[in-house]
C-alpha cells in the first residue's frame, strides 16, 4: 500500500493518472506557492534573512557537538531527561521504554516527521500501545493507513470531499445524517473526537522545529494548537528530534521562525509557536510531570562529515517540494520515502542507501526552483548531483544507459570523429524527417516519443555549413 522508492517510475506513472490526486495537487500553485510569494513580497529584507538563516545553520552545524552538550546541560537543569539514540531502532526502544515505564496504553502525538522516519507508530502499536495523531492531516492519513505526502501538509493529496467521506466511514459513533458541508465542520468534528484522547493519554509525543541550546527549550509551530495540548495535558511529554535541530540562541530561533512560517505557509507567524522548557515546575498550573528529549543521530553524523552536510541546514518548510515541477506532477507518495520532493531526494539516499534510492536524485529536471526558494539556501541541485555521482561510480544506473553514454563519450572527446558522425545523423534524420519536420516514431528515444514528437534535424550540421561559408560557398 505504501509505495517503495525502488519502484519510483511505476509509482509516478500511477500518480499521473490518479485523477483524485491530480485534483488535489492542482491547488498547490494557487495555495502554498502563492501564499509564500505574497508573504515574501511584504518583507524587503527577505533575501538578507535567508543569508542570515544559512549562516546560523552553518555555524551551528560547524559547532554541533558543543551546542548539543550545551542543550543537554540546560535541558537537564530544567528537569528534562535527555536520551541519545544512534539509530532508528535505538530511538524506538527508548521511546517505548519511556511509555512502558509510564504505564501508557494511549499516546497522543503532535505532527512529527522524525517519528515517521524512525517508524515509531508501528513499533508502539505492535507493543500494544494505542497511538493517536492529533494534527488534523496526520489524523486523517493515520485513519486511512497512509503515510504523509508532504512534510508540512501531510494530507495535501486529499480533497475536502475525501475527508468528509473518510469521517463518515471512521466516526461511526456519530449520526450518519449529520451535515459536514465545509472545512470548519470537519475540523469541529475532529476536535471533538480528539479532545477525549488528549484528556486520557498517558504520554504525549511531539517533534521539535528547533531545540534551543541557550535555554534547553524545544520549539514547535502549529496552526491547530494540537501540539500544545499534546505536550501539556498528558503526564509525560516526549520530544523526539534529530541532532541537527539544535540552534544556539532564542534570537537565532526567531530568525529561523520568520523564515520558516513565510516559506512554509506564507504566514508571518504560525498560529501557535510554543516553547517548552522541562516539565511542570513548582506552582505551574499545568504541564507534564515528566519531560524526555530523545536526540537521534540516524545518519546525521555521517552527513555532517561528508559533502551532504549542507542538507542538514534544512528547517523542514516544504517550500522546495511546493515549487518542484516533479512534486507538483506526482505528489509525495510516489517518492516512496518519508521525505518527498527535492530535500527528500537528498536525504532519503543518506537514510536508506543510494542503491535502493537512485531514482530519487535522478528524477529531477535540475530546474533549480527548489534552491531559489529554500530559506537556508541549500544547494539542492548540487547535492542531488552528488548522489548521481555516487550512483554512477557505483554502477547503479542502467547498463544500456551506460553503454550509450560510453559510445557518446568516446565520440564527443574525438572532435573529428564526432563531426563526421553528426553529419551522418543530421543527413539521415533530415532526409527522413524534414518534410514533416518531426518524427512520431523512431527506433530510439521511446520515452521522449511517448509524449511528444521529436523535431527533425534540418539536414546538415552547423559546422559543415559554416566551413562551407568560410570557403565562399553560399548557404
Amino acid at each position: 500500500m505504501i509505495p517503495s522508492t525502488s519502484t519510483f517510475p511505476r509509482n509516478a506513472e500511477e500518480a499521473l493518472v490518479d485523477n483524485r490526486l491530480q485534483a488535489a495537487l492542482a491547488t498547490l500553485p494557487g495555495g502554498l506557492v502563492a501564499q509564500r510569494r505574497a508573504a515574501v513580497a511584504k518583507v524587503p529584507e527577505f533575501e538578507a534573512l535567508r543569508d542570515l538563516g544559512r549562516e546560523i545553520r552553518d555555524h551551528t552545524l560547524q559547532n554541533l557537538d558543543g551546542y548539543l552538550k550545551a542543550f543537554e546541560k540546560k535541558a537537564t537543569a530544567a528537569g528534562s531527561t535527555i536520551h541519545w539514540a544512534g539509530d532508528a531502532a535505538d530511538a524506538r526502544l527508548i521511546v517505548h521504554e519511556i511509555c512502558r515505564a509510564a504505564g501508557a496504553s494511549l499516546v497522543v502525538k503532535g505532527k512529527s516527521m522524525v517519528t515517521e522516519e524512525i517508524g515509531l507508530n508501528a513499533h508502539l502499536i505492535e507493543n500494544g500501545i494505542e497511538v493517536v495523531e492529533s494534527d488534523l492531516g496526520e489524523y486523517i492519513i493515520q485513519k486511512r493507513g497512509e503515510a504523509p505526502s508532504h512534510i508540512i501538509a501531510p494530507a495535501i493529496h486529499l480533497t475536502q470531499d475525501d475527508v468528509e467521506k473518510d469521517f463518515r466511514t471512521y466516526h461511526t459513533h456519530l449520526p450518519a445524517s449529520r451535515l459536514l458541508p465545509d472545512a470548519e465542520s470537519l475540523v469541529a468534528e475532529a476536535r471533538a473526537v480528539m479532545r477525549e484522547k488528549f484528556l486520557t493519554a498517558e504520554v504525549g509525543i511531539t517533534g521539535a522545529n528547533f531545540l534551543v541550546a541557550e535555554t534547553g527549550s524545544s520549539i514547535i509551530v502549529t496552526n491547530e494548537g494540537n501540539g500544545d495540548l499534546t505536550q501539556t495535558l498528558p503526564p509525560v511529554h516526549i520530544v523526539v528530534a534529530t541532532i541537527d535541530k539544535v540552534v544556539p540562541t532564542l534570537d537565532d530561533a526567531m530568525v529561523l521562525l520568520r523564515l520558516l512560517a513565510r516559506s512554509a505557509t506564507g504566514q508571518d507567524m504560525t498560529a501557535y509557536t510554543t516553547l517548552a522548557t522541562g516539565p511542570r515546575r513548582e506552582g505551574d498550573r499545568d504541564g507534564p510531570r515528566a519531560c524526555h528529549v530523545v536526540l537521534i543521530d540516524n545518519g546525521r553524523t555521517d552527513m555532517l562529515a561528508g559533502p551532504l552536510r549542507d542538507a542538514l541546514r534544512c528547517i523542514r518548510c516544504g517550500a522546495c517540494m511546493n515549487h518542484c515541477p516533479v512534486y507538483n506532477a506526482i505528489g509525495g507518495h510516489a517518492y516512496g520515502s518519508v521525505y518527498p520532493g527535492p530535500i527528500g531526494s537528498v536525504l532519503t539516499p543518506a537514510l536508506l542507501g543510494i542503491s535502493e534510492t537512485a531514482h530519487l536524485p535522478s528524477a529531477s529536471t535540475f530546474c533549480g526552483s527548489c534552491e531559489a526558494v529554500c530559506p537556508v539556501k541549500i544547494p539542492l541541485v548540487t547535492l542531488m548531483r552528488t548522489w548521481r555521482e555516487r550512483a554512477w561510480s557505483g554502477r547503479l544506473t542502467s547498463r544500456t544507459g551506460r553503454l550509450v553514454h560510453a559510445l557518446w563519450g568516446y565520440a564527443a572527446t574525438r572532435p573529428r570523429l564526432y563531426h563526421l558522425l553528426a553529419r551522418f545523423a543530421a543527413a539521415g534524420g533530415g532526409a527522413l524527417g524534414r518534410r514533416r519536420g518531426a518524427f512520431r516514431r523512431l527506433p530510439i528515444a521511446r520515452g521522449w516519443l511517448s509524449a511528444r514528437d521529436m523535431p527533425a534535424p534540418q539536414g546538415r550540421t552547423f559546422q559543415q555549413l559554416w566551413q562551407e561559408t568560410q570557403r565562399g560557398v553560399p548557404r
Binding site: T413, P415, G437, R452
Partner: protein, 263 residues
C-alpha cells in the same frame, strides 16, 4: 581590430538546427565582433556532468577550453550550456592544480549567454530582425536561475520592430525537458510540458521563443504532437531575422503565420 568572439555552437544547434547558429553569428557580428567557430568543440559535457560522470565531464571541459584559446569572448546560444561553461567548469576543477584552476577561471570569465552578451556586454541598440506578431518568451531554467538572465532577452525583443511580447502566467516554470530526464521519466516530463504549452497557448502568441534549443524541442515536440498552432523558434532567429527555415518541429510544406519572416 575587432574583438574575437568564439561561437560555442552547442551540440543540439549543430545537429538539429544550424540556422540558430547562423542567427547567433549574425548577431555577434552585428555587435562588432569577428565570429570564430572552433572545429575542436563538440559538447560542453553537461550530459556527462549531470549523469554523475565527472571524468568525461573534465575531459570535455579541457577540450572546450583548449578549442577557444585566443577568443576574447565565448558566446553560446544556450543558457544551459553557458552555465555549464561559466559556473560548473570551475567546480569541476576545484581540486585541480592552481595553474589549471586559473586557466579554467580565465576561460569561464569570458563566457556569455547570447542575449546577455548582446544586451549587457555589447549593449546593442539595433538588431537585424523584424517580426510582426505576438511572441511569448520562456525563461529556461539554467539561464534564469544560474546565470540570472531575465530582462536581457525581453529588452532585445523590444528592439525588434513589430514584436509584441505576450507574457505567460508562469514564464519561469520549467518546461520538463531536463536533458535525459525527458527520456528517463517521460510521463512526469509530459505532465510538466503539458502545463507549459497550455500556459503558452493562453497567451494567443504566434511564436513561442526561448534561448535554449533543448527546451524548444521539448515544447515544440509537444505542440506538434497535440496539433496546436503555436510555432516555436530560438530567440536568436527572431532577433537576427533568420526565419527562412520552418519553425521547430514543423515541416517544409506547412506554412503558418509565423513560418516566414514578415516584413
Amino acid at each position: 581590430m575587432q574583438p574575437r568572439a568564439g561561437l560555442f555552437v552547442t551540440c543540439l544547434v549543430d545537429l538539429v538546427r544550424p540556422s540558430v547558429g547562423f542567427a547567433a553569428a549574425r548577431l555577434i557580428e552585428a555587435a562588432g565582433c569577428d565570429v570564430i567557430v572552433p572545429q575542436m568543440q563538440t559538447c560542453c559535457g553537461q550530459p556527462a556532468y549531470n549523469s554523475g560522470d565527472r571524468k568525461t565531464s573534465r575531459t570535455l571541459a579541457l577540450q572546450t577550453i583548449r578549442a577557444f584559446a585566443g577568443c576574447d569572448y565565448v558566446v553560446a546560444p544556450s543558457g544551459s550550456c553557458a552555465a555549464m561553461l561559466k559556473i560548473h567548469y570551475p567546480k569541476l576543477f576545484a581540486d585541480a592544480k592552481p595553474g589549471i584552476r586559473a586557466q579554467v577561471a580565465d576561460f569561464s570569465s569570458r563566457v556569455h549567454e547570447l542575449c546577455e552578451f548582446l544586451a549587457d556586454v555589447k549593449k546593442l541598440r539595433h538588431l537585424p530582425g523584424r517580426f510582426n506578431g505576438r511572441v511569448a518568451y520562456h525563461d529556461s531554467c539554467s539561464g534564469l536561475r544560474e546565470l540570472k538572465i531575465q530582462s536581457a532577452p525581453r529588452r532585445l525583443l523590444a528592439l525588434v520592430p513589430g514584436v509584441e511580447l505576450a507574457e505567460m502566467a508562469e514564464p519561469e516554470a520549467c518546461c520538463g525537458f531536463g536533458g535525459l530526464f525527458a527520456e528517463r521519466y517521460p510521463g512526469i516530463s509530459a505532465a510538466i510540458v503539458s502545463r507549459k504549452v497550455d500556459d503558452a497557448a493562453r497567451t494567443k502568441a504566434d511564436l513561442l521563443l526561448a534561448g535554449d534549443l533543448g527546451c524548444l524541442m521539448n515544447m515544440a515536440g509537444k505542440l506538434a504532437r497535440e496539433g496546436r498552432p503555436i510555432a516555436c523558434r530560438h530567440i536568436a532567429e527572431v532577433l537576427a531575422g533568420e526565419m527562412a527555415d520552418p519553425p521547430i518541429a514543423q515541416g517544409q510544406n506547412i506554412s503558418t503565420t509565423a513560418g516566414a519572416c514578415k516584413t
